[in-house]
Amino acid sequence: MSNQTDTQTKIVGKPVPRKEGRAKVTGAARYIDDLRMDGMLYGATVRSAVPRGRIREIKFGAGLPWDEFVVVTAADIPGENCVALILLDQPYLVAKFINHAEEPILLLAHADKHLLEKARRAVTFDVEPLSPIFTLEESLAKKEIIWGEDNIFKSYQVNKGNVDEVWAQADFIIEGEYRTGAQEQLYIEPNGVIAVANADAGVTVWGSMQCPYYVHKALLKLFALPEEKIRVIQTETGGGFGGKEEYPSMIAGHAALLSWKAGGRPVKIIYDRAEDMVATTKRHPSRTRHRTAVNKDGKLLGMEIEFVIDGGAYATLSSVVLSRGTIHAAGPYNCPNVRINAHAVATNVPPHGAFRGFGAPQSIFALERHLDKVAQVVGLSPAEFRRRNFIHEGETTATGQVIREPVDMEGLLARAFELTDYQAKRERFARANEGRSLKRGIGFASFMHGAGFTGSGEVYLQSIVGAEAGADGRVRLLAASTEIGQGTNTIFAQIAADALQIDFDLIEVAQPDTSNVPNSGPTVASRTTMIVGKLVESAALGLKQTLQNSGLLKANYTTDDWRAACRRHVEQFGLLKSFSQYKPPPGINWDEGKYQGDAYGAYAWAVYVAEVTVDMLTYEARVEDFVALQEVGKVVHPVLAAGQIEGGVAQAIGFTLYENVVWSEGRMLNNQMTNYIIPTSADIPPIRVYFEEQPYAYGPAGAKGIGELPMDGGAPAILNAIEHATGVAFNHVPLLPEALMQALNQTA
């Protein structure tokens, strides 16, 4: 049943100006580094140079006025020395055992930034080295046990049917192994916070972040203070992509510890780019193995998948990244027998973390590369093979989730092919490539992406959104969901304006401040529009309901009537407020123990097509054209939605052909923007974005989440196109010219 979504959509669907757009383009928006407070000190983090070891001694170099510095070590922590997230394994500061390079050991603050930098370099550690491990192979082989009893943060097993019985009946059994590398989020604004902390006033933190309540939760433990003594305020945030999901808890804690020790003087910590790149989280590297049984008609009989991600030194979010990757590993296909074994393992590198897609780009890359191989073995085209196996309404995913909405993957595929002239190009390129040094290719990937927290996550979060109306009829939305450049504030205002049928300009969104807004959950997991947007809609409708129940507002009203009703309500009863809390849509069931059931409330469905050229002389691969077609329920804001897709595809192109994190002894070597190569606008082809709309009954105005989706399809589509161009199958990303050269020389 679609309860409220049939309200007239006048503003939803329109490219209204961004709420915070004017402040950003005029430079009026204040980012954390623009803020300054009286008596403020600057903070710096002294980090480990080695990947693993035991600290024997901390040494302070000669020639610096150490008594002028605020110095914080693990011994100064008032509460618990752990960054509270899922597990409590990661310390704020190393007390004794170092588990990764660049791990924070000691904090310094001083009013003079220049002196601070000198001091940071003058602190050294005498460390007894311990043997580190750096790869997921070493971790799985237990070369050293560096975490828990077996180096395993989390394992899942998904079972559907009985995969053990299919191998005997299969006409073909196809195996493959696929790998993806780490990737840096590279938001424009590096991590930064300002903190004021002392025992009387408690702790207040301002900063660049995605999830104010995550920081709040972490600071509660760190300082052992009651909830009301901790306040977290999000300032204008220059991008996150997941990179500001968990890490801000760390830097916020550091600044607060320094301020606490300094008797409450404000302390600012801003990472420069090099520190941000070397020390903070990246996308989890992965290895996926597939074993697939198919019959001679090209029907999938069984899939056995092993999915392993490298979580780095601490558990952080690895278990949930693993979960999303696991659930997406078998894709939008109807396969009766599936087994997925998944593990997140520990290595001595800085913890890997949230990054747009959250495990799904890794497992989808493997699947969509693998299915091109399967098709080839079976003797079908990649498209025909997929057509024979696409999932439909009423069929089940790997977790046994029955798809209850109409899904038309065949239709998406047909339209994407039409938009790209895929069939003709597939044949034409193959002919024309003969003897050419510039080879062209075209390939695609078909996939889905679940919106919202996995499994029972949303039920557990119990998100709340508030709305309040003043005497002037202006409506303020209260949510902890953050605007980080993706358009949260605009979309919330659009949804509320349509729910109330009043002017868009009458809606404002409160600054996320834990002392003022309820916990609407983290700004992650493609959940902000679909899940929180729905709460915005019902909180707004609650305001209307109240006014109508008290007879102040007629059934049909204008914006002026609305204003008058609000004024009268405020005069008679005070401020008008309404809150709305998450309730799962009916019929959603998830069994966490068996990893079975409705993994997500809704999926967005997509087909992406990439066209490439590969220069056989210089080994440069370029994406020449890209079509991204997706079914997203309802497009709330066409410009912002297209922007999400374009940005995600650009990031996926980087992930595929450019972005290579170079590791040495567990430390990123190329942590500069001149040697960590991300594509520029000159490397990105026109990204042609198309939407289809199939309203989702429980999304606001029918919308589903799309933030992460565009990260999923690029890598496999591009590598499928490169295989088409060169005849060589590449099964890892990033695919750099060296690897192309090596493989193409071997086959030449």
Binding site: A49, H114, E117, R121, A274, R436, S437, L438, T613, D615, L617, T618, Y619, E620, R622, Y658, V662, S664, L669, N670, Q672, T674, N675, I677, I678, P679, T680, S681, A682, D683, L736, P737, E738, M741, Q742, N745
Partner: protein, 332 residues
Amino acid sequence: MNPFTYKRATDEADAVREVANGKNAKFLGGGTNLVDLMKMGVETPDELVDINRLALKRIEQTPQGLRIGALASNSEVANHRLVREQFPVLSEAILAGASPQLRNMATVGGNLLQRTRCYYFMDTSFPCNKRVPGSGCSAIPGFNRIHAILGASDKCIAVHPSDMCVALAALDAIVRVAGPAGARQIPLVDFHRLPGDTPQIETNLRPDELIVAVDLPNSPFARRSRYLKIRDRAQYAFALVSVAAALDVQQGRINAARLALGGVAHKPWRALDAEKVLTGARADAQTFRAAAEAALKGAQPQQHNAFKVELARRAIVRLLTEVAHETKGGAA
């Protein structure tokens, strides 16, 4: 950043005097390289002598060729009509580098003296013989994908990052300098040095000498000259390998040839052996392959950059083919 004093020079003599007498003083051109390195603590001058007000911006035709003032911006040089007509390789090389904003600020003098992009040189937490003589080279045992394959030493394997200089090497350019002891001229090919035992000394310019101009002599090959840069992305990246080539071809024969490589050595690398192969030979694929072989003879790749040897050969063949046939793009 280290504290420093700032002084604006009024004329050439004043600039030279300031740096000669100053304590650890440096000229400031566009600042696009020097200031970055100061922020990272790699360069730590105590004094900056700003030369931007000096009258060294002109680009003028002389009887012998073209004279480019040391303060002409990279954009001005690349977009200058005479440069584009008479020395197209120089225009192409400059435009292949950095970004429009950087090229607007960067000067010819500064470009000649820009420093290597070796990661370890640029990160003061690593040992580096170039930054701290005797401290060791982190690149040799480290990640050396972007490093030298020609002319390196066991003290340093860094490469010179400039695109402009590779073109200048192919054009027989001459650097004009002024110093406390007077003016002198240094051929571009002798301007930069190989690392040897003293990688900290990168050029034969003395620290108190000011670059005032670069001369481009007229030649029969300069008009038919091109630049090919291979890099990790289409913009805003240094060369993995680059090639500047100039040919004088008459009736299918090569009368004169110039070939220089970038991204392969501590200096812009003139491929003299390859030029010998080319001179007097037929302008055909076989000759170009032989030239490429000759250019890379003796190449000694590092652990992570063996690909550069083959990449350089291929780039040479492609560019020579295009210059000889006056075609452009990847058609082959």
